[in-house]
Symmetry: C2
Subunit: 390 residues, 2 copies
């Protein structure tokens, strides 16, 4: 039935995002797992959790694949059914969705989903190359284009078509850095100014340094349960009431539109329909701001505003804390940080805090319905989840 | 209820295993998808298939991750919900299990699961390095040990403890090459002799060249449906009646036993229990013979024979076509080939052929119950599935 819980979140955990020098991904994940276990004292992790899905994007960073089994062991869940999922920067968005399937299957009543990435020990050239592996090898990577370049093409097309400005994009950075300044786990907790964004060095015009999300280490997880079981484990569950996922061509060059992500549109329509809501019902959202422009495009794709009006929406302050629809209260990928495999379930973690009233200085008042939007590559994967408070 | 179908396989496809020069993984996958679509003319792939899970082990081979979306597009399923799963050589074993969850969830009545790998364009040193990424980086890879070395340690321990001989291991190779000679899609379709195995060059003593599985390109898939839907799509479905998955430490050095895989034992017990069978009910099996020794160990872990008697079992011809419990009638990883991401669902493809009486020269008479056993790494992941004919 529409609006009924598919599954319930009984707990969540997040490591500090930033630099974790000298640690492996599996070690960083223990911070997230420990927090999740401590938040839910009635849970007996080793006996109750029946399966794990772990988003992890790249084997190249640590010369380490097979991350599901490794992370399970380090989290104290040795011998569990543990699977790594990968869909570029949506790796843990799809882990979350896989975990929902597992709980709904009836074969695993309690499931841990999460994600992790260790990136900061690599230099920028290496990280840029490893990230680019999520784009089309023969038709994109081979020719030297990287993700800043791909998103710059989209941003330019949007500017040309709708009059979106660099100053509007800069406002996304300013807003998300403000939100990040209220999040003690954010990689960057400093406010910045529009001038600072606009005068930062060009990465791929029109995108400048402060239009880009951060290269971070970090891990995140949420624990999902059948709603009846969740009621026994916690007094304040958060329910997932909609889940959508869609794909698109891996190459940007093959898309019909450069100014919109079809995968985001399709996945959000599926999730809205399942949840029995429309975008007006949403109280807050975490969207995939890998670049400032991507957040503006998300407003439009998710139907938060009319097509072409994303720039206006941020300019009017509608998506700032206190606005009509606060977006990326965590600081987003821009300020909280973007350890790629961890991002999807880090968004779910923020929803868990907000919808249980635990978001402290960045709490959205009366938050009842939330949405997360996690994108892989230049939009070849998008996952959308809709949450409601108990 | 025990023995009832969890899901039903309505079709399956397999590319030729071997060298596919000048093709990308996503192109190789189209051979598997095309066969699966053609085998099930009542299926309308674009409308009926609601999700995909694709096993793919390494981004390094083709400098290409994000394989779920790419493969979906090339298979003609653009915009579908598509997720890559990775658990080393069990990458598509876990894809199969994730697909079962999806069908059982009620959110996706028909799901395609599969796997793919393109390996032969890389030299042996590169392949060995990329495969090693599935072992423990700081405690194994760093010190130079590779998978032949890890399995050699296990083989040596087994020889020491139970008197298993190199000649018994060689018999696995001879048997599987005989089976491969009957499979037109096998990478190697030539029979070999015990002498040839025993005199082949040492790779990691006691394992010699002919004790090792092949480096291959290839793709595989099966299409899963809710049993009620399957009945409308095909007259000869194969039912999956048991599914188990377990993990273990990523490092071999931490295990309590070197002569047995706990993950295989745990996953098989789960699957047997779910299926309501014991190992005596199994008519044929595809097991993970990445090295000849691994097949002998599998006999023991899956309870096909007593502990320590794996060598005897192959020596007595029990697992050869015509024997009590034919194992790896496809030729196995040893002769059919081992495009790592494709192996798990290639095993399921063989079960589909055998249990629908379409295995031609290698058909097992009266095959009613089958099992597949897919292992990742040195046993940090194992998945087991139990199948029965309609």
């Amino acid at each position: 039935m529409k609006g009924n819980p598919l599954v319930s979140i009984v707990s969540a955990g997040l490591s500090k995002f930033g630099k974790h020098e000298g640690m492996f991904a599996r070690e960083i994940f223990t911070f997230a797992a420990k927090e999740a276990f401590e938040r839910c004292p009635k849970l007996d992790p080793k006996n109750d959790i029946k399966a794990m899905f772990i988003g992890h994007m790249g084997e190249s960073y640590e010369h380490q694949g097979h991350t599901g089994a490794a992370v399970a062991d380090w989290a104290g869940l040795l011998n569990i059914s543990a699977t790594r999922t990968e869909a570029a920067c949506a790796s843990s968005g799809v882990a979350l969705r896989s975990g929902i399937f597992a709980v709904l299957s009836g074969l695993a009543d309690v499931v841990m989903v999460g994600g992790v990435e260790k990136m900061t020990h690599r230099n920028t050239e290496e990280v840029t190359e490893y990230l680019a592996m999520a784009s089309d090898y023969p038709f994109e990577q081979w020719h030297g284009i990287t993700f800043p370049g791909l998103y710059a093409l989209m941003a330019k097309a949007h500017m040309h078509k709708y009059g979106t400005t660099e100053s509007q994009m800069a406002r996304v950075a300013v807003k998300n850095h403000y939100h990040g300044s209220l999040n003690p786990k954010a990689h960057m907790q400093k406010e910045i100014t529009i001038e600072k964004v606009l005068s930062s060095i060009p990465i791929a015009t029109p995108l400048k340094l402060y239009d880009c999300s951060l290269i971070s280490d970090g891990a995140s997880c949420v624990i999902l349960a059948k709603p009846e079981i969740a009621a026994k484990l916690t007094d304040n569950p958060v329910h997932i009431i909609g889940s959508g996922q869609a794909s698109d061509t891996i190459g940007l060059y093959e898309r019909r539109s450069l100014t919109s992500l079809l995968s985001s549109k399709l996945a959000s329509r599926t999730a809205y329909d399942m949840a029995g809501i429309n975008s007006k019902d949403i109280d807050l959202a975490e969207v995939h701001d890998c670049f400032t422009f991507a957040e503006l495009m998300a407003y439009e794709d998710l139907n938060f505003c009319e097509i072409g009006k994303g720039g206006k929406m941020v300019e009017n302050g509608e998506t700032k804390l206190g606005g009509r629809l606060p977006v990326n209260t965590s600081g987003g990928l821009k300020a909280k940080g973007h350890p790629v495999g961890a991002t999807g379930t880090a968004q779910a973690y923020e929803m868990y805090l907000q919808l249980t009233g635990q978001a402290e200085r960045r709490q959205v008042n009366d938050a009842k319905i939330g949405l997360t939007h996690n994108v892989g590559g230049s939009g070849s994967t998008a996952t959308i989840h809709v949450y409601r408070s108990d």
